[in-house]
Subunit: 208 residues, 2 copies
Amino acid sequence: MSEPSARRYSGRSVEEWKAARRERLLDAALELFGTEGYPATSVERLCALAKVSTRHFYHEFQNKEAVLLAVHAQVIEVAVRSTGEALVATADAPVQERIVAAVDGYLRTVMADLRRARISFVEVVGASPAVEEQRIAFRELLISSVVGVGEVAVARNELTDKDFRFLGLCFIGAVNTVVYDWMLTDPRPPEQQVQTALRELAVSLMLS
Amino acid sequence: MSEPSARRYSGRSVEEWKAARRERLLDAALELFGTEGYPATSVERLCALAKVSTRHFYHEFQNKEAVLLAVHAQVIEVAVRSTGEALVATADAPVQERIVAAVDGYLRTVMADLRRARISFVEVVGASPAVEEQRIAFRELLISSVVGVGEVAVARNELTDKDFRFLGLCFIGAVNTVVYDWMLTDPRPPEQQVQTALRELAVSLMLS
DNA sequence: ACCAAGTGAAAAGCGGGCTTTTCACTTGGA
DNA sequence: TCCAAGTGAAAAGCCCGCTTTTCACTTGGT
């Protein structure tokens, strides 16, 4: 059995070098995919911005698509966490309050960084089967949250039963379109305005 | 001044040959862009399916992007016509009836051919600046219809004033997402079900 | 001092798609 | 009959991006 080499290069272990390169690549990908777009970004530019050689790039990722998947996964992760926390924190609150908390949590993370929004709403759409799969899976996760909130509220007699999956789908579509439209508007209105409008939309959809 | 040559080849004039090639190319583009996707379709395959030589392809279109723009314009045209007609036909009817007519008109055209739906909702998203511009312009046209219907109804005291532009944006986003989701569902539910649900959504959004 | 492992930079291979050009053939007016 | 214009098929040029490999250098354990 060979010991893991404890050798260090310029003070960092091999694993630390690897991790640092990976992080720089993900940062660069967020920047380039999020501003110029996935197809418009070449591996070469990605590596140049990340200060990583193409050799190391292919040690770290199987190909360019894998980077998009990884960046998208990062974006998703933040969103899932913030909405999940909002729902847990309001588990015993009235529906309306839970909806507002969840929508606010989601919108804050996605609107805080326009690059994330662009990746979520534009770049991953139809990019490739694998990316599409991840995008749909994430959407389904969000929808299941909506359904969950709805069913709990129905059980509590807070609202009548409906097709919550459909409503979730509609709301997600509305969010995508509205937020992307907001991004492109010049001058960009205050984000709070968009958040308020979408919050009210969510409430009125659920209470219909 | 030179006369336009009246020469005919195999019974067709030069212009007829040109027009026929163009139409075959647009048909092939609808098929390939609508099933395999725009990036996945090469000019070569396009020409092969259309039975047009690449030489003639570049006589007819400046490049591949121009074909996407043209196909998208065709798709748009049908949608604009059917919704416009629905609104004109119901100009004096109560709002709710106008909304239902417009939504039905739009959905029928877009859901009748899955290839059109895919091009409208997936392929043109972020494809290129020119395509994006055309897509946004069309969306703005639809939104102005929504705003128009809303303002007329307000003037008639049928409903209270609201941010109809925002509601239109939300509804379009919902339609995109719901219809694309319906497309991917297997087995695909009856389209009437989707149409009914979206119709009711439109009404409840406008009347809120 | 040695050298295995690691490093960044650069170059070369490779394929594929877009676009232009060439080719041989057909058409039908002059 | 001649030939300008048009036709489809094929090929070649071209570029660019993805991916792999080579290169010379550095690091630090032995």
